[in-house]
């Protein structure tokens, strides 16, 4: 996990993780340890995942696992919205998309 994060950050991109889970529990503490990028939480306010169209796709009141690559112009250059709970995007794919963004 950390190596994947390093590979993404080596491209110069910033990572912002947003969680809609309840991070007050032990899972939140565990998730916050060792991660150098900010882990944001919505505190039950679904406006941000709603803005990105990933809120409550599974009917559980949470945001779907998804990745948005935002270019320097503020536009969404690439996205991957999870249709399943176990959706994960390989870091190599994110790095590839970032490199495509830089080349374009």
């Amino acid at each position: 996990m950390q190596s994947n994060i390093d590979s993404v950050r080596s491209t110069g991109a910033e990572i912002l993780a947003i969680s809609t889970d309840d991070l007050n529990g032990p899972a939140g503490l565990a998730a916050s340890q060792g991660f150098e990028f900010p882990i944001l939480y919505t505190l039950g306010d679904p406006s941000t995942p709603k803005d990105y169209g990933v809120f409550n796709l599974h009917g559980d009141g949470l945001a779907s696992a998804s990745v948005f690559l935002i270019g320097t112009d503020g536009a969404v250059a690439w996205e991957s919205i999870g249709e399943r709970y176990t959706h994960q995007v390989p870091a190599s794919e994110i790095v590839k998309q970032i490199n495509n963004l830089g080349g374009a």
């Binding site: 991109a13 969680s19 944001l40 939480y41 536009a75």
Partner: protein, 184 residues
Amino acid sequence: MNRSKYFLSFIAPLSLILVVIACGSETASSPPENQPDTVDRQQQASNESTSPDPDSSPGGNNDSFGSASAMTDDEKSGESGEPVASDDLVIGATPSSSTGSSGSSAQQLSSPKPSDPVQDPSTSETQDAEADSSGSKDADPPAAQPVVDFAPDFHLASVQGPAHRLSDYRGDQPVVVVFYRAFW
């Protein structure tokens, strides 16, 4: 449980009989549309044949009667559901192709429209401007493949403490926004 099984075994052939009656009335009702009297009589006969059966069955068990009537309703819904499902398939097949053709036809119609208003040369410039604006609006949705074209800003607190705003990062470097779930 035994009573319910007994009534299930009793209702199953009875429902088959109802199926035969229903199918017979449907097949008989479709051709003789020119003779509504016979159709009404057959429907009345089928209604009369269905109504007395549950009335005669409930000897003393109201619970088993409720389950029995529920079974007939379910099987009736299943009977009606089969042709509806087939209709849905047909309906679902035609609109997808029709919407696709209509969408392409709409685009084809929208593209000639800007050239058509040239008939009025007096206000052609304003109409051309309007046509250009409408044309650009029509052209935007198919080009916008992402759910959100422009990343909405957010200002959220972080587990580490300080709050982060997306606009603070925007423009300096690419930002990877990850919505993740701690409990998978």
